[in-house]
């Protein structure tokens, strides 16, 4: 079992210029891992996530990324991701190249990546300008019916990072609740790092629970609270009030940088990050 600290896992598995997917659809977003990437000052990352969410707003605003593949880039129920917008609209802190999809399209790309197929196929991107805006959205003819179908290139991250509730001592990972496209992103990746709330002797029996087998997991990191301010079903709830507060923090470049300095860069690790937020509350 490859039990690492978060700093070791990022050091070993996230290189400058890598294609990195921190997945988790609203639930189980690996914030701790994102913050460690910021602390280690990674640059030129190709970030991949269906919903960039606050975690990529932070990485983009801190200058870690030069390219973004995504399908919905807002602060859910609140409004804009201001750091993403500033990068797209004004090139701050640097220009960011956009590879934009729909949820159905990016899901198909992950599924193809997991199966090591060259492309994903869907009855999608119909009647939308997205297919003109993004040259990687193409079409194929069905060899059986002749129907034109949308095709998207397989998504194979260099590394996928997930957060999960539990791993056992062998490195098997169990996820419950909303699972998004996490399993597809895991199987599609060249290496897979999973941060977990708990490491247990044996996983609870769940025949259909999402279990990532230890032989596809590159590293497990014990990181309680690692999805905060998103949530881990059964451990802590989504901090909706924080998502609402983020709007004001991130709206302005200076207040964003001050927040990242105080809570992320000046915190040694995730436990210190959480402690700094408890202190500020």
């Amino acid at each position: 079992m490859k039990l690492l600290t978060l700093a070791e896992a990022v050091e070993r598995h996230v290189a400058d210029g890598a294609r990195v997917a921190l997945e988790g659809f609203t639930h189980l977003i690996p914030f701790a891992a994102g913050h460690e990437i910021v602390r280690q000052g990674r640059r030129n990352l190709h970030l991949v996530r269906m919903t960039p969410d606050l975690v990529y707003d932070q990485l983009i605003g801190m200058g870690c990324a030069s390219r973004l593949t995504f399908s919905w880039g807002g602060n859910p129920g609140v409004g804009s991701l201001h750091r993403l917008r500033d990068a797209v609209e004004h090139g701050w802190p640097g220009p960011i190249e956009i590879d934009e999809h729909t949820h159905a399209g990016l899901a198909a790309a992950y599924c193809a990546g997991a199966a090591r197929l060259p492309f994903g196929v869907l009855r999608g991107y119909l009647g939308t300008d997205l297919a003109q805006a993004n040259p990687s959205i193409r079409s194929v003819e069905c060899p059986f019916t002749g129907e034109r179908l949308a095709a998207v290139p397989a998504m194979n991250p260099d590394v996928t990072i997930l957060h999960a509730q539990r791993a056992d001592r062998q490195g098997n990972v169990a996820i419950e609740g909303i699972v998004g496209a996490q399993r597809e992103a895991a199987f599609a990746a060249r290496s897979l790092v999973v941060t977990v709330e708990e490491i247990v002797d044996a996983l609870p029996p769940a025949m259909n629970g999402i279990v990532l087998p230890h032989w596809i997991v590159s590293a497990v990191v014990h990181c309680p609270g690692g999805a905060y301010p998103s949530y881990a079903q059964g451990y802590y709830v989504r901090d909706n009030a924080f998502y609402q507060r983020w709007d004001a923090i991130a709206r302005d470049r200076e207040s964003f940088q001050a927040w990242m300095q105080r809570h992320v860069l000046d915190s040694r690790d995730h436990a210190a990050f959480l402690a700094s937020l408890r202190e500020a509350a």
Binding site: F70, P76, H103, L122, G127, G225, Q233
Partner: protein
Amino acid sequence: MSGWTRDEMMTIAASRLLWDGCVCFVGIGLPSAACNLARLTHAPDIVLIYESGTVGTRPSVLPLSIGDGELAETAACVVPLPEIFSYVLQAGRVDVGFLGAAQVDRYGNLNSTVIGPYESPRTRLPGAGGATEIAAHARQTFVMLKATPRSLVAQLDFRTSAGFLDGNGARGRTSMGGGGPRAVITDFGVLTPAPVSDELQLTALFADATVEEARTSVGWPLRVAESVETIAPPGPSELEILRALHARTREAHRRPVHVPA
């Protein structure tokens, strides 16, 4: 002075369009309020699906995001996201897609991507999410948005999701399986597509709204149907249930969360 707001009337009018037992793919924001109001009033067996993979969910408060824990805890089942988009949506198993947007044009096409040119947008909006395929594949869609000169527009800055394309049957000549927008619910009343042309026209007004108000709120020369229905004001129980839902929601979203240790 009426005893309710236009926002409340809009949500109530939208909720009345849903029927009991229908399978409804729910967008966040205004649509989510309307769909849950329908569930709490006349449509207790409506099947609400959120793109996070929560199916048949019955939240007691409105979710802030499409993936709040409340949606999973009260769902009939929670499935992987690729399954929602392939087996459920593209397979044609959704009766109603309920969407919001930043802009709608006269043929019910939607923009939620950019204001200004795509390559150098003045305003970068969140993007498509599930909307493009919902608009293509749900048997019918309902669209909810507040009317401003910038929201109901003659020309979209970007077409994220298809309505009736250029109208006059253009949608029917594509491979889209779904029927397109059945109604656009806004804060003066309801627009629906005219037969043949597919152009959105005014077919229903709130009791306190006027044709003149509708015309000035829409960015194209709005056609008015021969007979314009007056939408019944909120019933006391509709209003009471909606207000209680919003009050519970506000309280829940404000509740401080203990930062995990």
